[in-house]
């Protein structure tokens, strides 16, 4: 066996000392600091054709129904069978709570509704274009940061930071006002969003952490389609269209997220799982990763509220 020969030869070479380490020539090394595949990525959900190749099973409702009829499993539809065709019943109370915060007047009688219409009428469709460049703040912002800034600057509420319960339920509420709209984050036109996308793509493929994983290590084939213990990761195409997502009553230790996982929480969750240092929600690098993920869902309809796991066990009967 080839590998074993290499192993034996190595023993001889390294016999001098217990450990020898070397830095490969710069260009050569840099190539491997990233998980392979960056160059194949495009900012559209159909980009998955060059990765998992399952896109044709989940590209629209008819395809998902056909795939289900053929008996394909959730991972062969990138989990869109229940993320897209079924809404989460458990998440409705969370949306109600978000709506309450939205309409809740401050001491001066103002609320989010004062600017955005009762129940957020004027925010319909907006979330499908987030993250975007905010000229007032001079940077690209994600939903939770926009909410934090509005609360502080227009309502004088200091406590609705990105990692708080009111922020997360509001984020889900606002996102749900875009249910059914196609994700459209313009990362083609030159400007801050395109720059964020490019940085985010690099970060997503960059190896980090104690395990030396990239996000892409798990979220591209052959890991996609295989088992990590009991779980199967999804491809990064289209996932962001379901975020924020309802999570069962379990959150990161110490956080009160009201069972809502914003995309920022999800990135942190995966970082923890992969023994990477967790980023701060709303920081530039964390926003960059979100821009990359959201733009990878371009062209796919938002579906909110959905939930993390499939409650239906029908597939077991097949």
């Amino acid at each position: 066996m080839n590998k074993s020969k290499a192993g034996l030869a190595l023993g001889a070479v390294a016999a001098v000392g217990a450990i020898a380490s070397w830095q490969a020539p710069a260009g050569e090394a840099a190539k491997h600091d990233y998980w392979p595949g960056r160059e194949k990525v495009i900012p559209h959900v159909s980009g998955d054709r060059r990765f998992s190749g399952t896109y044709d099973n989940w590209k629209d409702e008819a395809s998902i129904r056909a795939a289900k009829a053929k008996g394909l499993m959730s991972h062969e539809m990138n989990f869109k069978d229940f993320r897209w065709l079924e809404k989460s019943f458990d998440a409705w109370p969370v949306l109600e709570e978000g709506k309450e915060y939205f309409n809740q007047p401050n001491a001066a009688g103002k609320s989010c509704a004062s600017c955005h219409g009762p129940d957020g009428e004027k925010l319909k469709g907006v979330y499908a274009n987030l993250p975007r460049f905010n000229a007032r703040l001079g940077k690209v912002v994600v939903g939770p940061t926009q909410i934090r800034a509005c609360a502080k600057d227009y309502l004088g509420i200091d406590g609705w930071k990105e990692n708080t319960r009111p922020n997360s339920v509001l984020d889900m509420y606002v996102a749900h006002l875009s249910d059914g709209r196609k994700v459209d984050v313009d990362v083609i036109s030159p400007g801050p969003l395109k720059e964020a996308y490019e940085r985010g793509k690099n970060l997503y493929f960059k190896r980090t952490g104690q395990f030396h994983f990239a996000c892409a290590s798990c979220h591209t084939p052959p890991t996609v389609g295989n088992y990590l213990r009991g779980q199967r990761p999804s491809t990064f195409f289209g996932d962001a269209a379901h975020y924020p997502i309802y999570h069962f009553p379990y959150t990161l230790p110490g956080d009160d997220l009201a069972h809502v996982f914003t995309l920022q929480h999800q990135i942190r969750s995966c970082q923890m799982l992969s023994r990477m240092s967790q980023g701060t929600e709303g920081s530039r690098s964390m926003v960059d990763i979100e821009v990359f993920l959201k733009a990878s869902a371009n062209g796919y309809p938002m579906s909110i509220p959905t939930q993390e796991y499939n409650m239906s066990t029908d597939y077991l009967k097949r």
């Binding site: 066996m1 590998k3 074993s4 290499a6 192993g7 034996l8 190595l10 023993g11 070479v13 390294a14 016999a15 001098v16 000392g17 217990a18 450990i19 020898a20 380490s21 070397w22 830095q23 490969a24 090394a29 190539k31 491997h32 600091d33 998980w35 392979p36 940085r199 970060l203 960059k206 190896r207 980090t208 952490g209 104690q210 395990f211 030396h212 994983f213 290590s217 052959p222 890991t223 295989n226 088992y227 990590l228 213990r229 230790p253 970082q271 023994r275 990477m276 240092s277 967790q278 980023g279 701060t280 920081s283 530039r284 690098s285 964390m286 990763i289």
Partner: protein
Amino acid sequence: MNLTALRQPGARCLAALVAASVLGLFSPGVFAGSGQEKLQKIRAKWKPGEAMVPEFLTLYPCHEEDQPCGKLPPPAVEKVAFKGPLAGDAARGEKIALDVRWGNCAACHALPGAPGGSVGPSLADYPQRRPPVQYTYQRIWDGRVFNPDAHMPIYGTQGVLTEEEIRDVMAFLYQGKK
């Protein structure tokens, strides 16, 4: 050389390299233990089987580009030589391999006598196949020697496991389960 430049991790590396070659220290082993040094720090506060202490994760490259860890270079590839005999504690090795908060080999591999993930090749038949111990040791320590894009964590180089723990896992792999 000015001090601010020295504070850049890349520069420090370079400075170390220059110093090492000037002193004639440039031989295998110069960087030995960098991962294992991190490990010593970590193990003073973190017990295998418990959740990783977040402060230690900034010892490794991270995503936050404006933080020091965001500027850390990736770890250099480490070649190691296995010094026999294969005398680890197989029972402890099994525990290490199965524990999610320790070695967690089962996340990706089926193991002798235990089911597992399918991301890596099955190791269930390892006791029968018995690849060379040197090969196995290197694979676990730093698999990039065989495949620069290997998915598997680089357990030795990054100080995920101690040398002793890796030997225990190997004893488990070769012994199999009765």
